[in-house]
Point group: C2
Amino acid sequence: MAGEKVLVIGSGPAGLSATKELLNMGVDVVIVEKESYLGGTPKKLKYSLLFPELRPASEVIDPLIKSADGAKKYMESIVESAKPEGKGFVVTIKDKTGKTTTEKVSAIIAASGFEHFDSRRKYEYGYGIIPNIYQISDIERMLSENKLVTTKGTPPKRVAILLCVGSRDATVGNTYCSRVCCAVSIKQAMEIKQRIPDAVVHIYYMDIRTYGLMEDKLYWRSQLEYRVGFIRGRISEFMRGPNDTVIIKGEDTMNLNRALVVPYDMVILANGMELGLGSKQVAKALGLEFEEHGFVKPLDPDRLPVQSTRKGIFLAGAITGPKTIADSITEGQAAAMKAYEYITKGVWEEPVKVEVVEH
Amino acid sequence: MAGEKVLVIGSGPAGLSATKELLNMGVDVVIVEKESYLGGTPKKLKYSLLFPELRPASEVIDPLIKSADGAKKYMESIVESAKPEGKGFVVTIKDKTGKTTTEKVSAIIAASGFEHFDSRRKYEYGYGIIPNIYQISDIERMLSENKLVTTKGTPPKRVAILLCVGSRDATVGNTYCSRVCCAVSIKQAMEIKQRIPDAVVHIYYMDIRTYGLMEDKLYWRSQLEYRVGFIRGRISEFMRGPNDTVIIKGEDTMNLNRALVVPYDMVILANGMELGLGSKQVAKALGLEFEEHGFVKPLDPDRLPVQSTRKGIFLAGAITGPKTIADSITEGQAAAMKAYEYITKGVWEEPVKVEVVEH
């Protein structure tokens, strides 16, 4: 496609997947990435193993990064604006020194992803205040660097993981479920048991959401093979205990509603997903709309999930809501298809209006 | 793409979505459909409203059916074999009279979908034996035909919905979660309350899996706006009660583990998803492999979710596992992209082998 160029914003799994497919088709791709490296959040936070197969994250992410070799890249840069010109856009790109460049592109794929919920916003859980309280996003790095130890420098022998931190919680404004934290938490529980076989690992939950084919590879396996304990309970707060332990206060809602006061060496908060400032800036620069949970709104979430509300701009990955890596890759492929149709055939679908059936 | 032709097997959301994109790109599409109509399971079972927006299913499915106008169609037909020839396949198609035709195609997209679990296999729930016990798949049709009544011809005033029938249940060989039944069940509970506002509707569950952005539109809304009751409990059996009522026997695992013996006018079993005989036949005819739960195995579920294990054959929708309609549509777009790359550029990716990190 001589002369056809697509801008991809963000180089996580979704953006790289879209880039790969477009390059395969001979389309020029310009990547704009605000960080100094490709790979998105999996690289930023040094993801360890991926669920449900417990395969190294690098096995999935590194080939995607490699496949973007042929793209033109603006690193440590953001898109400042996208002005329509002809059938495409003139895009202004600003680097970290403030220098701006313009690129003329035929279509745009916004794949700038999510950010993890900052658990300090749930102050009652003590993150950032009480020692030995971490987030799943911290633990990924600790596992991949093989440095999972308490403040005393020893492997934790009693670990609690608390699900739904910043998710399913109207008190922090996030009524939705972040979809992947159950699976990530159970995967981390199994990794901890692999490394510290005599550790006790308890997962405190509201509902376990290892949906679809993940179920037995995570929820069942973690119990049968690794003896991870699941406690359906409500945690009200964490307190600093003696010897840098952390004490959970709460209620076990499954067993006679008994009160819980339990000490742990380490507590892991399964912090959820939000649209980060990066994606908010992208949405603003591109003139996109937001849906009610604060993510970017597709033109029609059921029918046209990768079309944005603005002609010529497509969406992929967690910019439209919590996603797994596999789903982000699939959406990258789908967005590449729709962008390719747009630049080669001018295809842009409109939402359908069908009268609502009243009974 | 004069001369390039892709075979799409199955005309549900995934197959129609792939068809639409390929036709948009000027590729000839041949659809083989074993039923006499397009639209797949949503049409077969007369789906009522779709979750989470409670929009009519026809609003999503009918435009997809329309978009397949330009495809060549073999209705009430199956693919008998696909033999490699050149870079493509010679496909033998058999219609219901037994007559066979051959088509030469450059690539194949298998999108033949799932079947609902037959609840008679969980005999203790009495489906097909005790009156007023239905499956969610029956209720969709009753709702869309506006015929939701008990055997007495009156609207049910007490309704129980039991989740995970044929899912998360090793006794029937299905250890996985079917992913959509929670959402469908809650949607049906809200539809029942819309039509019969004084009805009592209870949902018996293990975990509620309205993951991602579905959460508040279904789980929260059903409780706050419609007063649907959720009971975390274990049901052991249903019995026929007086006056064609159905009596539940079980245990409420949330409230003092009290025993439950509760009468209802109607019981709905949330029957899960399986790979049906249709897709099994497709997989066999195409020489595809199965994964451990009995669905068709992608070449690499994380990296290459829409490539099959056989070169030139792509996968979309519930043939690889339980999927929502929106996910099936996205996968149809992704499969169209990969098939298009394959037929125009010869792109076929191989799985990566990276050494597994041992800690």
